[in-house]
Symmetry: C2
Subunit: 436 residues, 2 copies
């Protein structure tokens, strides 16, 4: 247990508890928990350690609500083609040949390094051999919601699809009480790759275990059209018919949905992950996020895996989310900087069911904190630090990162692993994949 007390002081403190910036504020950390946020001039507690944040923004760590961390192995392997060709002709064959516990751990370690270095302190992941992802997350020292993949086909590590839910449940049971940094979950691939029985049984298991149910939904027009032709309903109507749209369900992508779908999601209380980088790169389309927000749905940002993005920098995702919807709606006031920054922090935390413990610098929450250095040409001047974060910063501007009060990035360097060894191992695996 980390009992150190610490003050991070002197920067622009953006607590994300409300839309305020405290210039030359301070954040008090004690025992891995936020003790308080102070404005300039307020009396400060005596602490073990003071971190000088002059010239930096001090804010909650970013929350990535959707990723497949091991897929960094396939970054740049196949681009500029449709989701179906990309999946069937490139990604699935590469996964079948090269995904095993060792490659999953290497890819996940690389992704954790990339995320921490760019200010993401929590990731929601779904893949196979998820126990290896969990081990990588602990080595990296980040926070994660991890779902073992469920799909009604043979999959890496789950050759018999009849074992898919049992495997996912075993993962939850093994990790449910092992580390405060890991929150297990179950990840059903989609309503077109999982049958009704699988979806229902997976959600029943989630309810019994008290964990999040994640599912890709309405990512492509083809998926929605096929379901309408085959069954006469939308994916959201199917999920609603199966009673899956409750407050512990995370719907990922949500590109092709109409007003009645949005109503169903809002009524059920389900949450959403918006992945603009992946949705645009795969030409899936543009999710109607401003309408979801109008309905009070909690929407977080996600990068998706780096095979379809091709990076895990949530600053880039903020940037894209803020701009894309303006062009799409021809309304420059939608997705303003504060809204987007909330999606990347406090709303993302709520979308993962972690709104009570992370996402803002609220006293009593876990001390997941990042410092973003504004003292660079591209972030000068600072008329508005929130605007600079959303419209001009990148992950490379992140100076320091704390997870649960523990410093994991210092002066832009990762403290928790030998990143060169991880990069070498991933490059070695990639050379084999390239020979496929």
């Amino acid at each position: 247990m980390n009992e150190e007390t610490m003050l991070i002081k002197g920067g622009w403190v953006i607590p994300m508890t409300h839309r305020t910036v405290y210039e030359r504020g301070a954040v008090w950390v004690k025992g891995g928990i936020i003790g308080g946020v102070f404005q300039e001039g307020e009396a400060l507690p005596t602490v073990d350690r003071v971190v000088d944040a002059t010239g930096c923004v001090v804010m909650p760590g970013l929350v990535n609500t959707h990723c497949h961390t091991p897929m960094s192995l396939f970054r740049g392997l196949a681009d500029d083609m449709s989701l179906s060709v990309w999946l069937n002709d490139h990604i699935f064959p590469a996964e079948a040949a090269y995904i095993n516990p060792g490659t999953v751990r290497a890819g996940a370690l690389l992704s954790c390094a990339e995320m921490l270095l760019s200010g993401t302190t929590t990731v929601c992941d779904g893949y196979f051999y998820e126990e290896e992802v969990a081990e990588a997350v602990l080595i990296a020292g980040m926070r994660a919601v991890l779902g073992h993949g469920v799909i009604d086909f043979p999959a890496p590590g789950v050759p018999d699809p009849f074992e898919n839910i049992a495997t996912a449940v075993r993962f939850v049971e093994a990790w449910q009480h092992r580390s405060p940094l890991i929150t297990p979950s179950i990840f059903c691939h989609s309503a077109f790759t999982c049958g009704e029985k699988t979806l229902t049984r997976a959600k029943e298991a989630c309810r019994r275990l008290g964990v999040l149910f994640q599912i890709h939904t309405a990512e492509t027009q083809d998926e929605v059209q096929t379901m309408r032709e085959d069954r006469g309903i939308s994916p959201y109507q199917l999920l609603d018919d199966l009673h899956l749209l409750d407050e512990s369900t995370l719907l990922i992508h949500n590109v092709w949905m109409d007003e009645s779908d949005i109503d169903l999601v809002a009524r059920g209380g389900a949450m959403a992950s918006h992945n603009p980088g992946s949705n645009t790169k795969l030409a899936s389309g543009v999710s109607p996020v401003p309408r979801l927000l109008d309905h009070g749905i909690h929407v977080g940002l996600g990068t998706d895996g780096s095979a379809s993005n091709n990076n895990l920098d949530l600053f880039g995702e903020m940037h894209l989310a803020a701009k894309l919807h303006k062009a799409y709606s021809l309304d420059p006031s939608v997705m303003d900087a504060w809204t987007v920054l909330e999606m990347a922090t406090v709303e993302g935390a709520k979308a993962l069911g972690l709104g009570g413990s992370i996402g803002s610098l609220h006293p009593g929450k876990r001390a997941d904190i990042i410092l973003v250095d504004m003292n660079t040409p591209h972030l000068t001047p600072v008329h508005n630090p929130v605007s600079n974060l959303v419209y001009a910063a990148t992950g490379a501007d992140v100076r320091d990162v704390f997870v649960d009060g523990r410093q994991v990035v210092k002066d832009g360097g990762l403290l928790t692993m030998d990143i060169k060894a991880v990069m070498d191992e991933v490059s070695r695996i990639a050379r084999e994949v390239g020979r496929l």
Copy 2:
């Protein structure tokens, strides 16, 4: 005159002369000029200096085809509002109160620093007090096409609009033979802020002086609708009627154009600057760039000023250009990575009329070269260096920059100016602007 000979060797050399990557290639520079590009194993010349580019991409410096460099002063001053409100209620008043030779130079210096550090070696700029921008460009050691602004209203430094063309011509004459790094030009603001007589006289002056004519065109739907209502024609028809659409005209934005407009531009031979960051942020819309490319029009990328973007990182612009059009057209094959990288280099150079001297590592061209460090978590593995550049890199990955054979950035640090002093001066000006 720089007579040094140099080899940059060991990296992925991407000459942009054709779609090939030379692994462990080399680039030979002599006297500020590209001497040759070598594949692994070829005999290399003896040189004064060898730069080890192991683990880096070696490629032409990026070409930013549209910017208002002094507007870095207003970065983040006003966001999330329409172009007309942003201009009339925020930018024009700030310009009227604070734009003078000193502030223009400070803002331009900051922008040049930001661009060089992020791999842009050439910028095409248009603003007022443009002689101060020219001085800043020379201090920074970058290359630029610079146009003094022409508008039929009182403007900074040009209180009498009857003097607008004479002022722009004086700028061209003063700078036409002063430095090989500076190519002067004339920048007419738009067909809705300049009358027919002004447009015609400005273009006549460009023809007489042999320089580029730049103009914002069809940026917003409102602009095009108003012209159609007032005159029954599109902005492109007006420019064509005035004989302005020739091969020395750069049309900036081109968001609202139909097939007949595209035909007019293609037939005239005019060139285009695509600014996806600014067009999306201001909700102007999405330029039909894939159609322009189908017609053989040279299209470069531009950042626009950092008051409407809000940064000058062309890697971000590549990223957005590659993704935006895929989502907009629902076609994942449009704007593939090579096409976008060409827009940021060789096609951008052609769009500025500099295709014979920069934009690719072709023997005889000027040695404007950047090294991009791939040895980072977010650029590992390197299945495809072109994909990594377009979809995963940012300007922060640029390690070294050479302009005209002279090194201006080394190991991520700027060699040509005291960047801290420039940032302090811009921050001081910004505090005054913020009090407006």
